[in-house]
Symmetry: C2
């Protein structure tokens, strides 16, 4: 369940030589310079990577803190949105790193949401075969989920996150106060990823989220703080057990096989990632019921929670063949096992590898009955 929040909380993600802290504290953004000085023997150069939406809000504060701590700061500002999580943006980051001549020991800092974090992490993993990187997540989604765990990637036109690396940050620096400049829609989308942790491994947290939804949407400090702490603890626990997703880490992908298909079929222009994951989770819940794994009513319970969160509930109308193709069940892939994350009930996710295309067709058809 959810623990009550403290002023400041630090989780250690213990991955041996790649261990790092998740530091959660209201107002900590303006102390990032000190934090960096705790990690490096002396300040040198660094680059902050952000986007056109976040940079005007927080870059000055981050830069001031870094410069006061002795760092020489370069910037790389990208366009905003999942549809820019591309090879082109990756190239822009590489050009900026080359231009700034960052050496192998000088860090890049991701200041933004999941897209900025994923791209920055991947760039950090590749530039000179790997330089340090720091996450400063600025969206609910990034604070509760994507900034922790070292999954980095860009999208390929034919699939989300297909080009990337497992590459851990040196520090995740979470300031919940920055969430106040988010659009309501962004907050809702992030909350979908928070609810996910309840669904796969913490039924009490799911209930707590449902009960505290209006306070969470209003960014009530106590509720938001507890939500972030709980999610980061779950994420850290899972990643420590299975860093490179050989097994149980896949549970974190609940709603993502369907969700990625939705994002890909709509070319990343219609839904935010968290919204697509919410829709994908509804599909996973219904599939869990239809295949006899979850009790009747599971999908309804989840939908009720999403409705409170103001998340979309209407399934986009694509042909089953399109769904199957977008999820990799195409002719070339006969016999390939697509993993689905299903539920035995709220709080109990599992990995199913025996789902046949026929079950998916039936699932999709049930929305058009």
């Amino acid at each position: 369940m959810a623990e009550s929040q403290a002023t400041k909380q630090v989780y250690r993600v213990d991955l041996g030589a790649r261990a790092y802290d998740i530091h959660i504290e209201a107002g900590c953004l303006k102390r990032i310079g000190e934090a960096l000085n705790g990690l490096f023997s002396r300040p040198a150069r660094c680059m902050v990577i952000s986007n056109v939406t976040i940079a005007p809000l927080y870059m000055a504060s981050v830069r001031t803190s870094l410069e006061q701590a002795g760092w020489q700061v370069s910037e790389c500002i990208l366009p905003d949105g999942e549809r820019y999580k591309t090879m082109e943006s990756f190239s822009l980051i590489m050009d900026a790193l080359m231009e700034a001549r960052l050496s192998r020991n000088e860090p890049v800092i991701a200041l933004g949401g999941g897209v900025v974090g994923d791209m920055t992490g991947f760039a950090a993993s590749c530039y000179r075969r790997g330089i340090p990187f720091i996450q400063i997540p600025t969206t609910v989604l990034a604070q509760v989920d994507s900034s922790v765990g070292g999954k980095t990637a860009i999208n390929h036109p034919h699939g989300k996150n297909m080009i990337g690396a497992f590459y851990q940050p040196r520090l995740v620096w979470v300031d919940p106060e920055v969430l106040h400049t988010l659009a309501a829609r962004e907050i809702r989308a992030g909350i979908a990823e928070a609810i996910k942790y309840g669904l796969i491994r913490d039924a009490a947290f799911f209930d707590w989220m449902c009960s505290n939804m209006q306070a969470a949407l209003a960014l009530d400090p106590a509720v938001i703080s507890t939500m972030i702490h709980t999610c980061c603890r779950h994420k850290a626990e899972v990643v420590m057990q299975d860093e490179t997703e050989q097994g149980m880490r896949a549970l974190l992908n609940l709603g993502h096989t369907f969700g990625h298909a939705i994002e890909s079929m709509t070319r990343y222009t219609t839904y935010l990632h968290g919204e697509a994951v919410a829709l994908g989770t509804l599909l996973a819940a219904r599939l869990s019921e239809q295949t006899g794994h979850a009790p009747a009513g599971t999908e309804t319970k989840i939908a009720a929670c999403y409705q409170q969160a103001g998340l979309p509930l209407t399934m986009p109308d694509f042909d089953a063949a399109l769904w199957l193709d977008a999820m990799g069940h195409d002719k070339k892939n006969v016999g390939a096992r697509i993993r689905y994350i299903l539920l035995r009930g709220i709080g109990d996710g599992f990995i199913a590898e025996d789902i046949q295309p026929e079950s998916i067709r039936r699932l999709i058809a049930s929305y058009h009955a």
Copy 2:
């Protein structure tokens, strides 16, 4: 020193969970299918990545062996040459992997020289955040050096190998017989990298290379086999001690700081990599003498060996400022330490971090006196 060759020799590169074999055997190319079946629980799909020069010579043989062993083979054929080791080629490989829908457990096979191996390895490290890859090196340079050790990369317009990963192959499968289709110039360039091992850590091997140069150039089986064995053993020893180049692995970069500058200043159109490394090694040797580290005559001894090998000895004529810029000694980099690999003598390389731009200016000026 050089050990005498056996019909077949296997070195284990012991990197814990990432350990793998270097298998050296004349004629082994046509048994790659069996080799793969020894690594994977059952044959599935794979992709062979090669270039327009190598594919017509060896793809059919590789494909036949793989198909007979039960593998379903896709191909990706790239243009030939260092100047194609680019983001564009990387994108082409990603497109091919997406098109073939390789899963996370299905391997890519690099069939070619250093460029094909470096690009394939980097693509393997990124595609779905990492899939298995196999090296089948087909040049002297790749067989004695680049196929072992897990350095993978592509070039950036402003610097060689700036975008890459440390990502180990699952197997290095070396057939010295394929060298017979190489151009003489390619053989010479590869021999430069073999000589490097003598220069940094094995004076007896350097002498042996000088004494056996004509036999090596003629691809005498016994000499070539001994040369490959000795280099692979040295490479494996170094990589096991320092996989990610925190320290002594940098010795393998003898001649490379200067060599990369030469390649970059000539836009990868004038020299083969091994030729640029040979020129760079002469610079490193002269710098070693000028800074009082190596005895007089060191450069001359190396040049005599290179002359026997038919390697270029004439230094390209660029302004010292261009050299300094190409090696990272620019205005932005004041105070940054550029590492040079120098020699205390033949067989005794070391890392120097205290070389000042003034020493480089004097070095370059000495060629135009």
